[in-house]
């Protein structure tokens, strides 16, 4: 009988060892981290790291080989996330959308020409992408978006506005969801376009978050011409294309962060031991419970990876399933709980925004909102997984 197996194969062990060696050699050679407020410097730093990964053969690890990726197993991808996190390597940063949303979408849905044009620069860290989905009046109800694209010869003329766009100031491309059929309601009549951010008519206005940083921007589109050749998928089929992208976002994107959270939790325990709060059984048990939660979330990520690997082996394209909603729902709350617990452990110093954990506490507040609110995740679980009647 073949057992359920957490034993890594020899290939996987070799992969981990090579990666660990490479990280050990490479990380000391990286330049110092740029200031969080200096977006061009952040872009340069993130792209340099991506280039280093590319040169070492780690770029697009989980992308299929025919898209320029390494065709690694989902397990290898998890090992990559784990090892880079444990080694303190840079995050994906400005390349998040390219590597985790737009790139995989183009890999699955794009034409050969589109794949050849867009995928290599993403993998080499040469072009940065941002996301143009949400609008001020279309958040949870993404399908109600109003940005319209009117066909004019071999181009669409796009007018409207997008919001919550990360890295907009330094991006080269935007994955843009627009309405191409004004007469079709809701999710019908949408198309997925790749738009150059330097096209005439594109204006970016940074949005300041409650943490004081400018993580997001509004993007205003005033008769921006986007060649029809830059549409991915069929006209008016953008909703389906987008769902592929969103299920990527809700699947693997946070797995590395779970490792980081578990690490923070251990540091937190040390800090509590040093400042005496460890004597408080209520705090200690709270941290113990968080340890269980993050341990289990990591196991769930491994489980999801096994499922994805199975889908790959049996002919699927490795698109994460709706079960990713469970991961997203629990992880978002666990992260917020972690930094609330950090505040308790820090005591009065939790009021110091100069402390990394206080800033993380603030930024964690977006986790139950961004990429599908917790309310939306629960709707998805109830209706798509459990098959409950459509909520009204």
């Amino acid at each position: 009988m073949t057992a359920v197996d957490l034993t890594r194969t020899r290939e996987e062990e070799d992969f981990r060892r090579r990666l660990r060696d490479w990280l050990h050699r490479t990380l000391p050679t990286l330049p110092p981290k740029p200031s969080p407020a200096d977006w061009p410097a952040r872009r340069a730093y993130d792209c340099a790291w991506q280039r280093a990964l590319y040169d070492a053969g780690y770029a697009g690890l989980h992308w299929p080989a025919d898209a320029g990726g390494q065709g690694a197993t989902p397990t290898q991808h998890l090992i990559f996330l784990e090892e880079t996190e444990l080694a303190g390597a840079p995050y994906v940063g400005a390349n998040f959308v390219g590597l985790l949303h737009a790139g995989p979408t183009i890999a699955v849905e794009g034409t050969a020409t589109q794949r050849a044009r867009w995928l290599p620069p993403i993998l080499r860290g040469e072009e940065v992408w941002c996301q143009g989905f949400s609008e001020p009046e279309a958040g949870s109800d993404l399908a109600s978006l109003r940005t319209r694209a009117v066909r004019d010869g071999d181009a669409y003329v796009v007018t409207g506005s997008k919001t919550w766009t990360s890295h907009a100031e330094v991006a080269d491309w935007c994955e843009l969801l627009v309405r191409t059929d004004l007469s079709a309601p809701g999710h019908r009549g949408l198309s997925w376009l790749a738009m150059r951010m330097d096209a005439p008519g594109v204006t970016v206005r940074p949005l300041r978050t409650l943490a004081g940083s400018t993580e997001f921007a509004e993007v205003f589109l005033d008769e921006v011409r986007v060649p029809v050749a830059q549409r991915v998928g069929a006209e008016n089929d953008g909703w389906r294309v987008t769902m592929v992208t969103l299920s990527f976002e809700r699947g693997t994107a946070f797995a590395g962060e779970v490792v980081a959270c578990r690490r923070t939790l251990a540091l937190l325990a040390r800090a509590a031991q040093e400042n005496g709060q460890w004597e408080d059984a209520a705090l200690r048990r709270r941290l113990g419970r968080l340890n269980a939660e993050f341990t289990a979330l990591w196991r769930l990520a491994q489980w999801n990876a096994s499922e994805a690997a199975h889908a790959l082996r049996t002919g699927g394209r490795g698109v994460p399933g709706v079960g990713a909603s469970v991961f997203k729902l629990r992880y978002s709350h666990a992260r917020q709980d972690l930094y609330d617990a950090a505040a308790e452990a820090l005591g009065p110093l939790s009021l110091d925004a100069g402390h990394e954990w206080t800033l993380e506490r603030l930024s964690s507040l977006s986790y139950t909102i961004a990429a599908g609110t917790s309310q939306i995740q629960q709707n998805i679980i109830a209706e798509r997984i459990l098959g409950l009647p459509r909520g009204r």
Binding site: M1, T2, A3, V4, D5, L6, T7, R8, T9, E12, T75, L86, V259, R262, R263, A266, L267, L268, A269, R270, Q273, A281, R284, R285, R286, L287, G288, R289, N291, A292, E293, T295, A296, L297, R299, L300, Q302, W303, A305, S306, H310, G323, V326, L329, R330, Q375, Q377, Q378, N379, I381, A382, E383, I385, L386, G387, L388, P389, R390, G391, R392
Partner: protein, 344 residues
Amino acid sequence: MDFRLSEDQRALRAGMRDLLAARFPREKLRKSAEADPAKRAPLDRALWRELGEIGMFSLRLSEKEGGAGLGLPEAVLVFEEAGRALLPGPLAATHLAAGLVPGAADGATVVTALEGDGVVEQLDAADAVLLLEGPTVRALPVDDGTGALAAARPLRSVDPTTPLHYLPPADEAMQGAERAGQAKGLAVGRLCGEAALLTAAQQLGSAARTLEMAVAYVKVRTQFARPIGAFQAVQHVCARMLARTEIARSSVYAASLTMTLGDTCAAKLLADEAAVRNARDCLQLHGGLGFTWDADVHLHLKRAWVRQAQWQSAAKAEEALAAALLEDPGDCMTETANRANGAV
């Protein structure tokens, strides 16, 4: 690394489910849960022997010892099914006793256990009691003539399908069993961890079952001219039940492979929480019906309370998980290679 179940494992689980559907249908559960204690069915020894025959207790023994040479992952699947059906009895204790106590492996003997908290399940039905404190594992015949268990007094068990006795921890009669003040031996520690995990597996099965019951009910129960499952508040309760179940499931399955302290403690904690809270949510969603004796939901809740108190309490699990944070430089996610197939 492959976390998915193999075909053989799926077959094992389906076999157990079929056996329980045939030999422990709902009527049997209800019979053992009669409201009048005098009318309750005692532990079904014939069924116990059948469980022994299909290998519920012996499956991790080697083929030479009469077992199937399987591991904890398979045991967990079988115990999950038992929890789903609310199969009564000291299943984990008898499973641990296979190979230690004659007759345990084939279901001829019923073996229960005395834990630190002093609660013993099914003492009247059992032939022997495992003692898991002190440096070594010991088994005591229930009627050993020494009167060691004479001080045990029956509780009016909150779970009608699980008779319980209580032995006050300070009891003199048990001093010979070296209960107090001694460090647990390695074997004892390992067996306690396995028992906690097998108990967690039962909790997982129960949590999955109350989720199913809740979903089925809210699809058909109509109020305000539509199924209550169309109300968002109800939907979200069900969604959180599913999330609890799936988090517990990955945790229990992973622990069956790694058997690390962290995975095992997390598995027991999260499976207990899933079983108790899912049962409570299921009860709430059933409204007044859920509060009746005739509905099964209270049996899940009460069993979940009993299992929660067995082998590892939440307080102990949380303290152990907290202590692990201090010992560990942060890379506990990197599991050590699991013992091949986890066979004992």
